[in-house]
Structure formats: structure tokens, C-alpha cells
């Protein structure tokens, strides 16, 4: 897995994955590993909405569109979606 970031100020892939893991922990979900899946780990549509708004607070509007999260939901995939959607 190559580092998907390009700009100098951007958090790298690993940092984004750690942010996702931390945000999930804040929602009461334990996803320590990049391959852990949000919905397999107890995530629901309700906690998904909360993760989406948390991502928007931190990374800006549409940082994590629901269609990305609901279709691709490992920590690695969520971090990659945030990276993709916040790249200017």
C-alpha cells in the first residue's frame, strides 16, 4: 500500500488510519487494525452518521460521503476515502 498523500501538509496514510481508529474508539468501537471493518466491529447506521460528522468537523465538508463509508468500511478504506475527498 503506497502512501496516497501528495501535499506537504497532509497527514500521511498511517496518521489518517490512526485518526479513524481514534474516532471509532470515541464512538465506543474497537478497530485498532487498518483491516478492521467498521460494520463488522459493531458500527451501525447511527454510529456511521456520527463518524461522518466527526470527519466533516475535522477535515471539512464531504470529507467522508456516506456512499464511501457504507460501501467500503475498513479503517484503511475509510482513511483512503477521507484522503481522496479532501485532496484539493
Amino acid at each position: 500500500m503506497s502512501n496516497p498523500t501528495t501535499g506537504t501538509d497532509r497527514p500521511d496514510a498511517q496518521a489518517l488510519q490512526e485518526w479513524v481508529s481514534d474516532a471509532c474508539r470515541g464512538l465506543g468501537l474497537d478497530l485498532p487494525d487498518p483491516e478492521n471493518d467498521f460494520f463488522e466491529s459493531g458500527g451501525t447506521s447511527l454510529t456511521a452518521i456520527r463518524l461522518i460528522s466527526r470527519a466533516e468537523e475535522v477535515f471539512g465538508e464531504d470529507a467522508l460521503p456516506p456512499e464511501d463509508l457504507f460501501a467500503h468500511s475498513t479503517v484503511r478504506e475509510i482513511a483512503a476515502a477521507i484522503d481522496r475527498n479532501t485532496r484539493s
Binding site: 487494525d33 483491516e35 460494520f39 463488522e40 451501525t44 447506521s45 447511527l46 456511521a48 452518521i49 456516506p66
Partner: protein, 259 residues
Amino acid sequence: MTGSGPRAGVDRWLPVLRPARRARRLRLVCLPYAGGSPDLFRPWADQLDHEVELLALRLPGRGVRLREPLYDSWEPLVEDVFAALVEAGVAAEPHAFFGHSFGARLAYELADRAAREFPGATRRLFVSGSRSPEHPQHRPLLHEMAPDAYLDAVRAMGGTPAEVLDDPAVMRLFLPTMRAEMRLAEIWSRPPGQPRLDVPITAMYGRDDPVDGRAATAGWRRHSLRPSELLELPGGHFFLDTHRDLLLATINARLVSTA
């Protein structure tokens, strides 16, 4: 339950939510209500009998299958789900079905199909929160309502958190799937005089369910050649979410006696 890794076709249709911990006695295949995902049944993993493997169906329109075309008629739906059960090695081996609402109708169709192709493999059919095949569908039909009225009706049914209903971006994803499957549930009918299934049926309804309560579900017992039962549980249409402990105890007791 570890990470996902590459997902095979079988995983896409029928994820295993929890393997049996000791020797597997049978598999329980769970079929969600309209718009529901297999993840609804993940909380069952802790309480379900340890010798039972827990699987759930993932239809198009949710999760990794979000962008796949939705089913708009019963025949291909039953055909494809049954083929997935065969491919997963589930249909030919001892199994039971649990379906709720739309999922209960689908469970009946699958049990009927399995009874013909793999007689004896289906050990029990749990139909929960669903009218029996000959009982008329409650009116007005939700799937024919205008979008706003439909959303109000879904809200009134319960089962979907208000925070989800109030999120337009999320509802835009969920509504087409929910509506397509509610339509299938509403148009579902079987001509009278169906042969009885050689499978014991446990039918369940929520005491306060205004639609699929006692009157709508009482007919299920007439669809089996085997001793069958009708059980009332506390709660409304979504008693499977609100009274999970009691439901699981009920299911476990029947699966243990269904060796």
C-alpha cells in the same frame, strides 16, 4: 471476527457472522427486514447457541453491494439467493432460517425451495413479524406513497433511528433499497392451497404490532406438516431489536431441540 481481506462471492451474499465454536450442529441463516443489512444480526453472536453457525444474507443495495441493481420481482430474488445458499454449501446441510418481515417472506420461499431440492435439510423455519402467505396485505400500501408520506410512515413504524431518518445524504442511499424490498413484501402472495412444508414453523409477532400482529400471523401454523407454533413477544414490529435477549432464548431453545 478478523478483518475482511479479499471477499469471495460467498462472503458477499452470505457473510458468516460467527462460526460454531465446537462441532457445528447446524447453521442459522438470518434474513433481514426491508433495507436491513446482515450487520443487524452481529449482536446475536454472543448469545446464539455455540454449536450453531450464524450467517446472514446481504442483498444488493447495502454495504459492499450498495451499487448493485435491486430486485424488483420475487422469482429472480428467490432463484439467486437459493443459488447462493447452494454455492455456500448451506442448502444441502442441516440449517434453519430466521426471517423478519420482508425477510420472513423470503425465508418461507427459500424453505419451500429447499424442501423440494434438499428434503429434510431445513430443520426449522422462524418467521417473525410477517403476515402468513394467504393473509391480505395491510393497506394503504407504503411503497405506493409519495416520498414525504412514505418517510413519515417509515418513521411511524419505528426501527430506524431519528438521527438516521433526519440525514438526507444517508437516507438517499437507504431509501431506494428499503422501498424496493417493502414493495416486494407488500406484493407477495401465494395462491391458496399451497402444499404444507415438511418443516416445523415457529411464527412470532410483537404484541403491539399494529400490522403484522396475531391476526395476520396466526395462519402460519397451517403451512407445516410438522408441529408448529405461534408465539407472542413483547414489543412492536421491531421486537427483534428491542427484545433481543428473549428472542435469542426462544430461538436457542428450539435449535437445541432440533438436533
